[in-house]
Amino acid sequence: MTITRRRALLAGAALSVSLIATACGSPGDGGQGAAPAQSTSATDQEAALNAGGTITVWAWEPTLKQVVTGFQAKYPKVKVNLVNAGTGDDQYTALQNAIKAGSGVPDVAQIEYYALPQFALSKSVTDLTPFGADKLEGTFTPGPWNSVRSGTGIYGLPMDSGPMALFYNKDVFDKHDIKVPETWEEYIEAARKLHKADPKAYITSDTGDAGFTTSMIWQAGGKPYQVDGTKVAIDFADEGTRKFTAAWQQLISEKLLAPINGWSDEWYKGLGDGTIATLVIGAWMPANFESGVKAASGKWRVAPMPQWESGGKATSENGGSSLAVPEASANKALAYAFMKYAGVDEGVQTRLDAGAFPATTAHLNAAEFKDKKFPYFGDQQVNQVLAEAAAQVVPGWSYLPYQVYANSVFNDSVGKAYISSTTLDDGLKAWQDASVKYGQEQGFSVQ
């Protein structure tokens, strides 16, 4: 008898231990859709600012720190808790769970453009139209502005934008007498030459990054995602995609890419010591260079993104973030006031001074912005290159309404291309299948 009970208990323990993991991850559906519709005018925001209060902001963008300081100096009664809850996906995971749990939700959250549709679709973030966000059309450049709109709603205020450019280590290029590549063909040639001259140096690092891959396909003219409300079509076999895979496959197969994960300590080190010679990345990168790669100050320069056709002028957006107000925020008026300060008013200049890249037309075209010399980049007028890139973004791109999930399984499928004999094309096909399957499970009509 005792034996039986002990057995049962042990077995029970085995089961319950397994289940605790899920129980933690499956809170109820409280805290959703409960907030009453509210309309707040500018005077209400003014009143909220004067009344004061505390708001929590989740963001990883480095220049917001100074913005918070400036904001608190201007409105002494307001206290802003700036929390770094992780970068990108990590933060969205935390945010989605806080929203699902209905507690610990911040008042303002940094959300990249690719991720915003998912939050908007599930009504996790507030439509900012009642706060007067609709009147800001024209304040922002078209790319970012279209990214924060969904249907008639406006779900975030653009904070920065990320037209892509080529960042390269001039020291390394000069040392090995390599010409700055203008086309992807030249880029691949440069990769070969560099790695041959110095087996420890690579043209760039890549271990499979969904954001980078989609941006590259975007520049090549591919349009793998077609989204019309809840109707979604995914096709990673179009001409633009093929152009990208044909080129990038060469770099992978010839082992010309440093196997270093982006944003890791090793990555920053590699950017500083010449192991990673170039980065094709969004225009928000200079601030990260200045804060994260101090060792290479004066060595890096910025050039236009390599082209698919000689003499071409096409770029794409890479990253770029908006600030949004979660539906569960208790102090939306104050949250919106902070966002407006950071994205439209004085905060923009604060961030520009710290090296950020704006999404506002006025700042982008200001002579002061374009002519600014960056000591980090050897006094190059970096913004001239970047502002030009902003005007050359290929139109017509859209992300999936569940891109956050799709990106989270990118390395399961496309990642295989980086560590095995699987090709990029096959990897993308597998990624497409996984995305289609998830979309169907979530009730989208997917082709």
């Binding site: 034996i3 057995r7 042990l10 077995a11 029970g12 323990a13 085995a14 089961l15 319950s16 231990v17 397994s18 289940l19 605790i20 993991a21 899920t22 129980a23 991850g25 499956s26 559906d29 996906d89 995971t93 989605q96 769970n97 699902k100 998912q118 679709l121 599930s122 271990t207 499979g208 809840t230 270093i260 994960n261 890791s264 090793e266 080190k269 309404p401 569940y402 956050v404 999930y405 989270s408 399984v409 390395n411 399961d412 990642g415 295989k416 980086y418 560590i419 095995s420 998830y438 499970e441 979530q442 009730g443 989208f444």
Partner: protein, 294 residues
């Protein structure tokens, strides 16, 4: 006989003693299980909301190749890593118990110490050593002038994980086995000595039989532990994003489903199915262990 006991006499005093336990037990064990089972019967979609789907999630899990490949990974892990770990633990326990080891208590604490290191820290520590560019593996490669295989590559990642887990848990299992050895009646050893038995003979005839129960417990804990593998792959994924997929182990798959995919219902189902499988295997091992004991 039964009929003569008056009903009114039934005493509830006992419940007052077990009440606090039952309340906590219900709250922290039964409620989560019940809630997970409840969740597993529904499906929530981004488009279309929540609907009752009965056993659909279970049918899906049983036919899900990602789930079974995750299960395959932990099964291989179990079959290879657990015997190695338990053998090492047994060796250390016997050595410390032999009384011939100088500084036995130092070794005991030293071997046990890794268990006191949080799994996250332990994994990070090993991850630094595994690094082929800046870690110990890199240094060794430079020193020996050869190119050592990358411990974080897809082929070796399971073995590397096994190494971390073994390092963490040898001490823990050693302690279980060692304490079982301590309760052996010393007069048995004296008798063996008088009979002229060798140390090896003592181990085989006295110590190993005495360890059977403890080994069984250690094995069951290890089975449960293997099937629950999560921390180590979750941490190493940052360094080996392509080798460790988002469905590398059943628990990691459940994590991805709920935290990245918002599929809480299916995630609960996967956890329940894995829990039941764990239960069945642990139970089977125990049945077998018990039979030997008789």
């Amino acid at each position: 006989m039964v009929a003569t006991v008056p009903r009114a006499r039934r005493s509830w005093a006992g419940w007052r003693f077990v009440g606090p336990f039952m309340a906590v037990f219900a709250l922290v064990f039964l409620a989560p299980i019940a809630y997970s089972i409840y969740l597993s019967l529904f499906r929530t979609q981004l488009i279309g909301g929540t609907a009752f789907v009965g056993a659909d999630n279970y049918l899906k899990a049983l036919a899900d190749p990602l789930f079974w490949s995750a299960f395959g990974n932990v099964a291989v892990f179990l079959v290879v890593q657990v015997p190695i770990m338990l053998f090492l633990a047994l060796l250390v326990a016997l050595a410390i118990d032999s009384g011939r080891l100088y500084g036995a208590s130092f070794f005991r604490i030293a071997v046990f110490l890794p268990y006191a290191v949080p799994a996250v820290v332990a994994t990070l520590m090993w991850a630094f050593m595994y690094g082929t560019r800046f870690g110990l593996v890199a240094n060794l490669s430079d020193l020996l002038g050869v190119r050592l295989p990358d411990p974080l590559s897809a082929d070796l990642i399971l073995a590397s994980l096994g190494n971390v887990v073994t390092w963490e848990f040898v001490g823990y299992n050693m302690l279980i086995l060692y304490s079982a050895l301590r309760v052996v009646n010393p007069s048995l050893y004296e008798a063996a000595e008088i009979d002229g038995a060798s140390q090896f003979r003592i181990i085989v005839a006295i110590k190993l039989p005495a360890l059977r129960g403890a080994l069984l417990i250690a094995t069951i804990f290890s089975i449960i532990g293997s099937f629950q593998l999560f921390n180590e792959p979750a941490i190493l994924k940052n360094l080996a994003p392509n080798a460790i997929t988002s469905s590398f182990t059943p628990n990691y798959y459940a994590y991805t489903l709920s935290f990245a995919g918002q599929q809480y219902n299916y995630s609960a189902t996967v956890a329940i199915v894995m829990g039941v499988i764990t239960m069945i295997i642990a139970y089977a091992v125990q049945l077998r262990g018990m039979r030997k004991e008789v």
